[in-house]
């Protein structure tokens, strides 16, 4: 099944840079229903909230891999998601990221593609590692949709 794929392991899928504002964070908190009071504050500036650790990957996913998915792979469902939070990211803190294809494999007759993005702060220190596995949607997968995720 992977023979129809034109992507390869190690291929860069996108890059992104983001500096989250209070307005962006509040919009996200409203969407997910997470109370702002649960967020830690910057040790040197209590006005700056830490971002929910999953927020930056969510905010940058289009540039890192979603556009790549649409253009190069097609419809797919995320079936595994792993994140490692190395240091907090705060409002107003610039973060950049690069994403590449870390693996492509077959499992249960379906093609899986693993994207890995590494986020770094202005000093180049790693803040966060995001690794997500998507399963390509084909007719066989869709036919089994009612029975659960592929």
């Amino acid at each position: 099944m992977t023979s129809s794929l034109t992507v390869r392991i190690g291929e860069k899928t996108g890059e992104a840079a983001i500096t989250v504002t209070d307005e962006m964070l509040d919009e996200y908190l409203d969407a997910v229903g997470l109370p702002s009071g649960l967020l830690p504050r910057h040790p040197d500036d209590a006005s700056r909230r830490a971002l929910p650790p999953d927020f930056v990957p969510k905010a940058t996913m289009n540039r890192l891999h979603a556009y790549f998915l649409v253009k190069r792979i097609g419809n797919a469902l995320r079936t595994k998601h792993e994140m490692h939070y190395l240091k907090p990211v705060y409002v107003g803190m610039p973060v950049s990221a690069e994403c590449h294809i870390a693996d492509i494999y077959e499992s249960k007759g379906r093609t899986r593609v693993v994207f890995e993005a590494i986020y770094r702060d202005e000093c180049g220190e790693d803040c966060l590692i995001d690794r997500r596995t998507i399963t390509i949607l084909d007719k066989a997968v869709l036919g089994r949709f009612a029975g659960g995720r592929p």
Binding site: L38, P40, A50, P53, D54, P57, K80, H81, E82, Y85
Partner: protein
């Protein structure tokens, strides 16, 4: 052992707010064009809910040294709710102060079906933050 849970509901308005309008996570029509019966909650949103449980339970240490890994097992659709669970695993007898707290995390739909499951870790210094 810590065991925590909370309920999260997904209406279409919330799904649009999270995923943006007009895609298979926020529009039944778009989902059907992709071959799905109706719009499904974006996988990242489900992970965010389980991550919220870790934030509620452990606070700041989770942001600096924590991790989460979730298998998305069954789609969740608009107009339904899920219950998210966290169970702290017992530390090894020889665990040192630098060890991490390991948790099982999972999510069930209204029928009790497992929709997502995996694990999460947080630095052991978070133990004092645990409820």
């Amino acid at each position: 052992m810590t065991v925590a849970s909370f309920v999260k509901s997904f209406d279409m308005e919330r799904m649009i707010a999270y995923s943006g309008p007009g895609n298979l996570h926020s529009s039944d029509e778009a989902a059907q064009k992709a071959g799905l019966p109706k719009a499904i909650v974006q996988g990242g949103f489900l992970v965010a809910c389980l991550s919220e449980l870790m934030i509620r339970e452990y606070g700041e240490p989770y942001f600096s040294g924590g991790s989460i890994a979730v298998n998305l097992l069954k789609p969740v659709t608009a107009g339904t709710s899920v219950t998210c669970f966290l169970a702290e695993e017992a530390p090894a007898e020889d665990a040192d102060e630098d060890a991490v707290i390991q948790c099982k995390i999972w999510m069930e739909n209204e029928d009790g079906d497992l929709c997502a499951a995996g694990g999460a870790t947080v630095p052991a210094r978070a133990r004092g933050n645990s409820a």
